[in-house]
């Protein structure tokens, strides 16, 4: 019996192999670009933002066509590595590959070395930053990232303007330079609005970070973000700012709000995130990767691709302009009109340069000096954020 079934399987496999191979896709005109997504393409977060950017680029650049693989993480696709996927995409005709996670840093480097002719871009990395500390990418690898820091400041501000308990929770993913600087930004924005608009003492604002361990929940490996959010809300933290790729905080806030609690949440990454629970959503700081995708594709199409490292900021004229602004903040229905007006002020001020939050005096969590009074942080100082800031609770590493 067993032997029979084994042979049957083998025979079936063989039969299909013998059948004529399907026409290789992408063998036509146009430019195929590959996008490697770490989460599901409909995660209402980071991965969906990239997926939508790919669709945006398909529309904007004639002939461009996306191939993608989503859920590239050990929980969902065990044994699958970035070089494998890049190989596969190349075999499908991809002439540019975007690997869209910090988690793909190593794999992208390996793939870039294996395919020296292939333009390959790791989003959020710094291997291609000549002025950075970890410059080691081969010439075909580039990086780009959005200056989310500004929008995190806006998010922090919205939270500070809404909280009734003065306790803000930050649902952090894993701990690294990027996540520290984003959490710090949210704190800076919150503290600024707390002190400036509400005229309260910065010391009376609590800002606590809990790291779950990864960009999204992997059961048994990370803390359960639902539980973390729940814990925040049950201990008096009435606004949770999410730093992870998925929307647990928003969902949990919604659930508790229905049970009569006055709580809010700020999701992350994806412009449409508030739609999952509008009633408690203060707004979402999001990435608009479309323009960066278009730039990369255009460069490759025109044969003008060279290694580059971009850290794209918002279009201060309209931070929500889909064609120009790399990051934005979409206000949520739960944001009060008064708070919304104050956000306008903050955004205007930052755009005009009159409000600079990365400016001394700032101390790190361990008390050491980060920025002298009046000193404005350099890109390196912001990018390689060593710790949380003084005044924030939670581990720095």
């Amino acid at each position: 019996m067993w032997r029979i079934s084994a042979w049957a399987i083998a025979a079936a496999l063989g039969a299909v192999l013998a059948a004529p191979a399907p026409p290789a896709p992408g063998a036509g005109a146009g430019l195929v670009f590959g996008v490697v997504l770490v989460g599901p393409r409909n995660d209402h977060g980071w991965s969906e933002a990239h997926f939508i950017a790919g669709q945006y680029a398909e529309k904007k650049v004639p002939g461009a066509r996306m191939v993608y693989v989503d859920n590239v993480n050990p929980a969902a696709k065990p044994g699958v590595t970035v070089p494998q996927i890049v190989d596969d995409m190349v075999s499908k005709g991809a002439r540019l590959v975007l690997t869209t996670s910090d988690d793909f840093k190593d794999g992208t480097l390996e793939a870039a070395r294996m395919h020296p002719q292939l333009p390959i871009i790791n989003v959020s990395g710094d291997h291609a930053w000549k002025a950075g500390r970890d410059y080691k990418a081969p010439p075909n690898e580039s990086n780009f990232m959005g200056r989310m820091e500004y929008m995190k400041m806006v998010a922090g501000c919205a939270a500070a303007l809404t909280t009734r308990t003065g306790k803000l929770g930050y649902l952090g993913p894993l701990v690294n330079d990027e996540t520290r600087r984003l959490a710090d930004s949210a704190y800076l924005g919150a503290r600024y609005c707390w002190a400036t608009y509400l005229r309260k003492s910065p010391a009376s604002l609590r800002f606590k970070v809990t790291w779950i361990g990864f960009w999204f929940n992997i059961p048994g490996q990370t803390l359960d973000p639902t539980k973390v959010a729940d814990d925040f809300y049950n201990t008096g933290f009435d606004v949770v700012i999410s730093g992870i790729d998925t929307t647990e905080a928003l969902v949990e806030a919604n659930k508790l709000a229905r049970a009569g609690k006055r709580v809010w949440a700020v999701p992350y990454d994806f412009k449409g995130a508030c739609r999952e629970a509008p009633a408690v959503c203060l707004g979402v700081p999001y990435f608009n990767w479309g323009p960066a995708y278009v730039k990369a594709i255009t460069l490759v199409r025109d044969g003008a691709y060279k290694q580059y490292w971009d850290w794209n900021g918002p279009d201060w004229k309209n931070i929500n302009d889909p064609d120009t602004s790399a990051v934005g903040f979409e206000r949520g229905p739960a944001l009060s009109a008064a708070a919304s007006a104050r956000l306008d002020g903050l955004i205007r001020g930052m755009g005009a340069g009159s409000i600079v939050l990365w400016k001394g005096p700032l101390r790190l969590q361990d008390g050491s000096l980060y920025l002298r009074a009046g000193q404005v942080a350099s890109d390196q100082q912001v990018w390689y954020m060593p710790q949380l800031l003084q005044g924030m609770e939670g581990p720095s590493k």
Binding site: S5, P83, S91, L174, G220
Partner: protein
């Protein structure tokens, strides 16, 4: 049901697995750990033991291999370090399996639950190491430890037109060794006896507890080797990360359930399963189907086999 033609899905999976030489290479590298774990499970299944802890044993193998490479990688010439890492992985896997065996033999904890619990503990241990002692400088991420240098990777061996990852040969060799051990040695004979009737085996004078522990150790050792391959294999990520075992252990259980006791069937079925796993990655792209479809197909196959076997036995007994 899913708004997609199953035939088309099937074609996509096969083409996705075997359509191009690179893909075949990936299938091969997914095949190796599956082969190793399935080889180990043949040993425990021969003794009628449900070593569900195999998943944790794979993890421990990966942990020990990583530990050995971290400690020895720059002390020894690469081949020596890799060899020692392999041995360390065998050791780690068997120790973990022996723990499950001891829980069963001396603590009366059913090996299914002991093994499951140990799986979770192995998971926590890995997470702890990746985030704690073995974390990358300045980063606390479950992404993994620093990747090892290419000199510490297992080589590929050219078998035109393919570059076959070296670990595949390891897997087939393990399967062969297990097959020989089960058929040719007293150990194998004892396990067969234990698997058929523990009581009779005991009364025949077979040291049943010792042989069962040995079976656990052997299975754990091979599973540990699978973990080693997952760290050092030609197409692996060359680093330790949580979930590195990725369900290979559980998948290997399915393989053995389907293959029965035949090593040859195990080789074929694990190959087919590796192909399904890899091939189903093509589904989301072309058909908007989740790639877990591969898992559905695999488990459905085994379920059908179990039901058919029961049905056949029933029909035969009716006629007889």
């Amino acid at each position: 049901m899913l708004g997609a033609s199953p035939v088309e899905a099937y074609r996509l999976i096969v083409a996705g697995a075997l359509g191009q030489p690179e893909r075949v290479a990936f299938v091969l590298s997914a095949w190796a750990p599956l082969l190793l774990a399935a080889a180990g499970l043949l040993v425990t299944f021969a003794a009628g033991l449900w070593n569900i802890g195999v998943e944790g044993q794979v993890l421990l193998g990966a942990v020990f291999a990583t530990g050995a490479l971290r400690a020895l990688g720059h002390l020894l010439p690469p081949p020596g370090a890799v060899l020692l890492a392999g041995l360390a992985a065998v050791l780690g896997g068997s120790l973990w399996a022996l723990l499950a065996g001891a829980l069963r033999a001396y603590g009366n904890v059913n090996e299914i639950f002991g093994g499951l619990g140990l799986n979770f503990i192995a998971g926590s241990l890995t997470v702890y190491l990746v985030l704690g002692p073995w974390a990358r400088p300045g980063i606390a991420s479950t992404s993994g430890t620093l990747p090892f240098a290419p000199s510490l990777w297992l080589p590929t061996i050219p078998v035109p037109p393919l570059e076959v990852p070296g670990e595949v040969f390891l897997g087939i060799a393990a399967m062969g060794a297990v097959s020989v051990a089960l058929r040719g040695t007293y150990f194998g004979l004892h396990l067969a006896a234990i698997g058929r009737s523990l009581r009779a085996a005991h009364l025949r004078g077979i040291p049943t507890t010792r042989e069962m522990l040995r079976a656990f150790a052997a299975c754990g050792g091979l599973a540990g080797l699978a973990g080693f391959v997952l760290v050092t294999g030609a197409h692996s990520r060359h680093q330790l990360f949580p979930l590195i075992s990725g369900g290979d252990g559980f998948l290997a259980i399915l393989v053995v359930l389907l293959a029965g006791r035949s090593a040859l069937a195990c080789i074929l079925i694990s190959g087919a399963f590796a192909a399904i796993s890899m091939g189903s990655l093509q589904l989301p792209l072309a058909m908007q189907l989740d790639s877990s479809m591969g898992g559905v197909i695999q488990s459905l196959l085994v379920l059908c086999a179990i039901l058919l076997r029961g049905l056949r036995a029933r029909l035969v007994s009716r006629e007889g």
